[in-house]
């Protein structure tokens, strides 16, 4: 193969190639370049119809927890000490133990990537038989109806918004591609696009052949460049820290994944597969609590404070330098990308945008974290005692 051009030269090359994005053979994109726009995304987890991965059942949500905490037994309570207090527990979560059972997704099978090259005791086996899968997010969300496939409410909406919201326009562009089947060195660029996704006459299905411009003005932070290789039609990239947009219901927000890597099966019109890495918990949770109010949490039995505690409890990466507690959790995104043509930016403007780029998790939690002692749970005597074994952090 020819040595691929360095990423910084891709824009210039792309200018020359604009208008030739169609493949001249099924395996080789014309000009050695092809791009895909993200059109579907959801958290990768095992969701069998019988919920075999949830032998203890599915989680209860915020509505059920509220009833346990504040049973309708004639006790007079203030708004501040009930609804508002639970909102505070959601917006200012702590790792304090809570008296509710949290049901984790269990193994042995879960989709995902082997992020650390180690087959540990908590790792899963992928549906196609690969071991060492790191996906603690499956444990966190796998038994919560809101996130389970195929149509958990939050899962459905988050997936739908990928297509509908321009804010979420993630594009993966490959350069120096000799073959979509096998190429041991390709250049990969991820950026945010500026344009609507082309859809069919029904308005819901993405159609290949659309156009995307590179968002340099507000999208510099999303730009990533990395190396990858294609083997057997599957692209695998080296890990990078990835910032990706995920607006839901017109509420822009971003998520952050450490050491993220792509594993996508490539075709001339689409790319499908996983983005795996370590999810920054605070950033993820900010997205969740801002976008999914108690109203939406009640749709599918999820409880924000409980999810936060589970994430912190099951976190497996990025230990905090002071506390030693992990701040990130392994996970994977199941994605579908659709082929798209790129209008390359001016090279000088692109270079300037890179100087403004900030590669760091955008949110580090509240300046002063809430004292776990403030989060008190007093279940009425009539409530069956539940184990406090969920408490504490790793």
């Amino acid at each position: 193969m020819k040595h691929p051009p360095p990423p910084r030269l891709l824009p210039m090359l792309g200018l020359l190639l604009a208008g030739f994005a169609h493949a001249d053979s099924p395996d080789r994109p014309t000009g050695g370049s092809i791009a895909y726009v993200l059109t579907n995304m959801s958290w990768a987890m095992q969701s069998t119809p019988g919920a075999a991965e949830c032998p203890k059942g599915l989680n209860e949500g915020t509505r059920e927890q509220f009833k346990q905490l504040f049973p309708d037994n004639g006790t007079k309570r203030s708004f501040e000490s009930t609804q508002l207090r639970r909102e505070i527990d959601g917006f200012h979560p702590t790792i304090a133990a809570e008296p509710f059972v949290y049901r984790e997704g269990e193994g042995p099978v879960a989709p995902g990537l082997d992020l650390d090259g180690i087959a540990g005791p908590e790792d899963f086996r992928s549906p196609d038989g690969h071991g060492g899968i790191d996906n603690q997010m499956h444990r966190v969300l796998g038994c919560t109806a809101n996130y389970r496939g195929p149509d958990g409410p939050i899962r459905f909406f988050e997936d739908e918004m990928v297509l509908r919201e321009n804010y979420n326009r993630v594009v993966v562009q490959l350069g120096g591609v000799d073959s979509l089947k096998d190429d041991d060195a390709v250049e990969v660029r991820i950026f945010r696009g500026r344009d609507k996704v082309l859809v069919d006459a029904g308005g819901l299905k993405a159609v290949p052949g659309g156009t995307q411009r590179v968002d340099l003005r507000r999208g510099a932070n999303y730009i990533r460049e990395m190396h990858g290789r294609i083997s057997g039609g599957v692209l695998r990239t080296e890990p990078v820290d990835l910032l990706y947009p995920w607006d839901v219901f017109y509420f822009p927000s971003d998520q952050y994944m450490y050491k993220a890597r792509l594993e996508l099966t490539l075709a001339p019109t689409a790319a499908t597969g996983l983005i795996g890495g370590y999810v920054d918990i605070e950033t993820w949770y900010l997205h969740m609590i801002r976008n999914w109010s108690t109203h939406y949490q009640s749709y599918g039995n999820s409880s924000a404070p409980s999810i936060y505690k589970a994430m912190r409890r099951l976190a497996d990466a990025e230990p905090d330098s002071q506390t030693g507690r992990n701040r990130a959790i392994s996970g994977a995104l199941a994605t579908v990308f659709t082929q798209v043509n790129i209008i390359e930016p001016d090279p000088a403007e692109y270079a300037e945008a890179l100087t403004r780029r900030r590669i760091a998790a955008p949110y580090r939690g509240m300046p002063a974290e809430r004292d776990p002692a403030e989060e008190q749970f007093e279940l009425p005597a009539s409530t069956p005692a539940v184990a406090a074994a969920n408490g504490g952090s790793r």
């Binding site: 082309l198 069919d200 159609v207 659309g210 411009r213 790129i342 209008i343």
Partner: protein
């Protein structure tokens, strides 16, 4: 059905029908088929066109209102389309009937416009005065508004009797409704509904420079010029030119044409003509099978039309290039909805686009507006494309297929024949079919590199596509070759001349027009096939202003209708049933 009289001298409906039919057939006859004269053409001394009475199209009606009241006075309305006559909807305007249903639509539209114009939100700048009492008639203020408006809507100055009738109508309605502006609205509604507004009535007068012959009077010539070049009523300046007699003076007419051809409104007129010529009304009902062509949407249809019209305006008006080069140019404009079919990127909006030199995408024939319209919902059609080219661009008539034709060979999805060429070759083995397919398929097969949505393809069902063919004896190997042969076909500019002349004079060309068309064709060639020059040549030509059928003028002139209220217009419609 209430039928307005078409040509005032012919009052019998059957005679009107026969005349209209005769004109239609004559338009397609060999007698007026475009041809290139072997010797220098001479304009006959008495060359003239017909004076006509034409119903305004919806676009002409609203374009005219836009000038009078501003573009914000826009009402959702649906005027019935004309019958396409000799290739043009515009040529059907002189043979249009008005049904009761259409009259109701006119009345609904007129009422809504009148209400909007005199509404509290708009009266401050559309009505030039305030009444002495808001709840009573004010003849002076009513006249200040109604008389200039009547002049613009009727495209001629109202007589004193007409002015008085208008003001009286407004006053009577104001007193009855106890609202000056409501009264004004009633009078305006009547104005908008009057035959003088809805119809372009051409009147003639003796031509002093050609004794015994007649010419359009100044107002009628102004209207003919304005609808020809701007697809709208004359503006104030053009009406003044008509009143000063300048349009019958060579220098005055030249000055007027300088202004009209330089006006941005010329683009509106040119767009309207090509919209008609290329039958873009077909796009309104165009749909593709989304399972086969998922990227073809309603947006694609809209943009396909706009792409071709932008290309035409840029090529013919902005750059003032050779008309024939429209079919070989690689320059166009592209939008995201079209880019997906072109397989190229495009930012939002419209962007200039030049197809690569080795691309098969060249000229108007390879634009989506031609390729997708002349195709089936789920596959291409070499026959429809060949037919479309001959009829729209060469003014030829391809007969309809017989009703009992067997399409099984071309429509069988499981056929062992893979390409359209193979299927049509088999189809032509039927001698009944062969006659027409011989004149359509060799052209259409050249465009088989484009599927039913207009997307380029190298192969069809795995078989290579042979794009070679012939057009009127000229052979070509590929799409650019077809474009080149078409570009050099003398019928191409001759057809345009015929259509533009018909469009300008308001009706299909007749056998008597053949010398005129030949003469215009020669001038078009001498001028480098530039459209603005052709428009000027036609507009200044003798037959554009000189007319036959003096009875139209005398009858219409003596029976010039009083300015009608809506009630009067309705009565007029009833009287002419």
């Amino acid at each position: 059905m209430a039928r307005f009289r078409l040509l005032p001298r012919y009052r019998q409906p059957w005679l009107v029908f026969m005349l209209a039919l005769g004109a239609l057939l004559a338009g397609e006859s060999a007698a007026t088929a475009p041809s290139v004269p072997a010797v220098a053409a001479v304009l006959p001394e008495a060359a003239a066109s017909q004076a006509r009475m034409r119903l305004l199209s919806q676009e002409q009606f609203f374009n005219s209102l836009g000038y009078v009241f501003g573009p914000d006075i826009a009402i959702s309305s649906h005027f019935a389309p004309f019958r396409r006559t000799d290739g043009l909807l515009a040529s059907g305007a002189a043979a249009a009937g008005v049904t009761i249903g259409q009259m109701q639509e006119f009345q609904r539209t007129a009422g809504a416009i009148a209400t909007a114009v005199v509404s509290p939100a708009n009266r401050g700048f559309l009505v030039p005065c305030s009444p002495r009492h808001e709840d009573a008639a004010d003849a002076r203020c009513a006249a200040r508004f109604l008389v200039p408006v009547a002049r613009l809507l009727h495209r001629r100055a109202p007589t004193r009797e007409q002015q008085a009738a208008l003001v009286a109508t407004a006053g009577e309605a104001a007193d009855r409704l106890h609202d000056f502006h409501a009264g004004l609205g009633v009078a305006l509604e009547g104005l908008l509904l009057s035959p003088e507004t809805l119809f372009m009535i051409e009147r003639s007068e003796p031509d002093p420079s050609h004794p015994g012959l007649r010419r359009l009077d100044g107002y009628s010539l102004a209207s003919r010029l304005s609808f020809f070049l701007w697809n709208a009523s004359p503006d104030e300046e053009l009406l003044k030119s008509a009143e000063r007699g300048e349009l019958h003076d060579a220098k005055g007419l030249s000055r007027t044409l300088d202004r009209m051809l330089a006006s941005p409104r010329l683009e509106t007129g040119v767009r309207a003509f090509f919209d008609d010529l290329l039958r873009f009304d077909d796009l309104a009902v165009l749909a593709k099978d989304p399972a086969i062509y998922p990227a073809f949407s309603g947006e694609t249809v809209e943009d396909a039309r706009e792409q071709t019209l932008r290309t035409i305006v840029d090529h013919l008006l902005v750059r003032q290039r050779d008309y024939r080069d429209l079919f070989t140019t690689r320059d166009t404009f592209i939008s995201p909805a079209l880019a997906v079919l072109y397989g190229v990127p495009a930012p939002p909006g419209w962007t200039p686009y030049t197809s690569p030199p080795d691309s098969q995408r060249v000229g108007l024939l390879t634009q989506i507006s031609f390729l997708a319209v002349h195709a089936h919902p789920g596959r291409s059609s070499a026959t429809l494309r060949g037919k479309g080219l001959r009829e729209k661009l060469l003014c030829q008539q391809v007969p309809r297929a017989p009703p009992n034709v067997d399409f099984s060979i071309v429509e069988n999805p499981d056929s062992t024949l893979r390409t359209a060429r193979e299927k049509l070759s088999a189809h032509r083995s039927n001698p009944i079919c062969a006659g027409c397919h011989k004149i359509t398929d060799p052209i259409g097969l050249a465009l088989e590199h484009f599927d039913g949505a207009g997307q380029y393809r190298e192969t069809e069902k795995g078989a290579p596509i042979d794009a070679s063919g012939t057009l009127d004896g000229k052979a070509f190997e590929d799409v650019p070759g077809l474009a080149s042969v078409l570009r050099d076909n003398p019928l191409l500019p001759a057809c345009l001349v015929k259509r533009v002349y018909s469009y300008g004079t308001g009706g299909p060309a007749t056998p008597a027009d053949k010398p005129v068309l030949a003469w215009l064709g020669e001038h078009f060639a001498e001028d480098g096939y530039r459209l603005p020059d052709l428009l000027r040549t036609i507009a200044t030509s003798q037959p554009f202003s000189m007319v036959t059928d003096p009875a139209v003028a005398t009858a219409a002139g003596s029976a010039a209708p009083a300015v009608a209220t809506s009630a009067a217009a309705g009565a007029a419609a009833g009287a002419r049933r």
